[in-house]
Symmetry: C2
Subunit: 280 residues, 2 copies
Amino acid sequence: MKVIRSKAAMQRLADRLRSQGRVGFVPTMGFLHEGHLSLVRVARKRCDSVVVSVFVNPTQFGPEEDLEAYPRDFGRDRRLLGQEGVDVVFRPDAETVYPDGFATSVLVERLTRGLCGRTRPGHFSGVLTVVAKLLNIVKPDIAVFGQKDAQQALVVGRMVRDLDFDTRIVVAPTVRERDGLAMSSRNFYLTPEQRRQAPVLYRSLRLARRMVRDGERDAASVKLAMRRLIRRESGFRIDYVEVVDTGELQPVRRISGRVLVAVAAHLGRARLIDNIIMRA
Amino acid sequence: MKVIRSKAAMQRLADRLRSQGRVGFVPTMGFLHEGHLSLVRVARKRCDSVVVSVFVNPTQFGPEEDLEAYPRDFGRDRRLLGQEGVDVVFRPDAETVYPDGFATSVLVERLTRGLCGRTRPGHFSGVLTVVAKLLNIVKPDIAVFGQKDAQQALVVGRMVRDLDFDTRIVVAPTVRERDGLAMSSRNFYLTPEQRRQAPVLYRSLRLARRMVRDGERDAASVKLAMRRLIRRESGFRIDYVEVVDTGELQPVRRISGRVLVAVAAHLGRARLIDNIIMRA
């Protein structure tokens, strides 16, 4: 397994890999867990070579967010990726990614306005800009994203189609702990007590699914029931509980067809998100 | 010479061409003149295959601008490009380039604030977004732009470096009529009388060069002299006369080192621009 730090070296290797077969790519911020590794396995299964990037991207963090605190352990990441048969780890430093004079950003309208976009202004532009760069550096045939970050996956998919990147975005299912908590590097921030409370987010999503299965079609009723369930655990500060269509991510009043039910809440030092897609 | 209208077909051909040698690309809005053809010749000389796009990009025109009136003659363009030994003409239609649901844009900060960016809000974002798309579709080793659109060339160069496109931007000199008028598809709008007046823009740039050669270092004095010269011809409405640094395109007060002297003015139905780079 090669570890590459230079953009130009990665591009030359990318040309060679792509000429030899299909290239799969998994962009990450490191501190890998089973969720990331499941994305790597999707790429491994579908492609001849697999590139994983490890880069904590500063531009997708807000000024009050956890850039400094974000957990890092490259030694462990490298070992895990080696065990998964990854061919190349691309690990640039921030000065390489954002040299002096950097002035460019990529935006996606509409889809970035609600959900996480509302309380994290600039977040998706940071994500899109770095993903555009990584796609131009790694030149993959497919790039795999996790369903846990549902809005990110949809927004990146929109950018890739709109800007005609010659890459297909594949979205892989959320991987959960045994008690239902969606895996996330940020779970690391939770105290034992908070870790015990955290699965209520997924339980609220399952409650939403049960209500819709039982015939509920009013989004407000579903959202209210979810909020009440989450509030039974102390310490949560809810960011949003939302039901949106899966195309433009606009809130729906009546649930019909395919919808995304999504939740975000602060618990201690962590901001946790989770979602499910369901069909009424 | 192949004419291709589909993005996917162009991408497949692009992969083949790039694997066989260097690919040169000249993006145009058609209605070609000697300026465009000089860019094609630069690409032809440096590369194994040459792709030219012909697409009047609606998103780079303002609501009050000349999108509808913009001159088009694809039969003539095709003949001229054939004579230059171009390999591929990529000529998509607007629905292919901007399908329903399109939501993405590319921005460059700072460099787009002044000069043409001031009176043409949205123009450079339109240019950058379509160029990003075209680079992902044509995958060229080099893309050739004209110095006549100086700000465009610098802004595109900034984007290409910032987003790590694996393409080098080459800027080729402005081609002029015998009386000095910079070639432009928009010269087509000029009446015979306006055509006679138009070269004063280039004369104002030469005046600036003479003044600086003779020791003038005050940008305001140079700009005032240029405005006075242009105003001797009736019918001009000056948009800007500016002296800026060639890095961030910020106005300078004292002229030293390398500067861009740029002018934009409306004359009848045409908005004309021109510029020179000089060193004090």
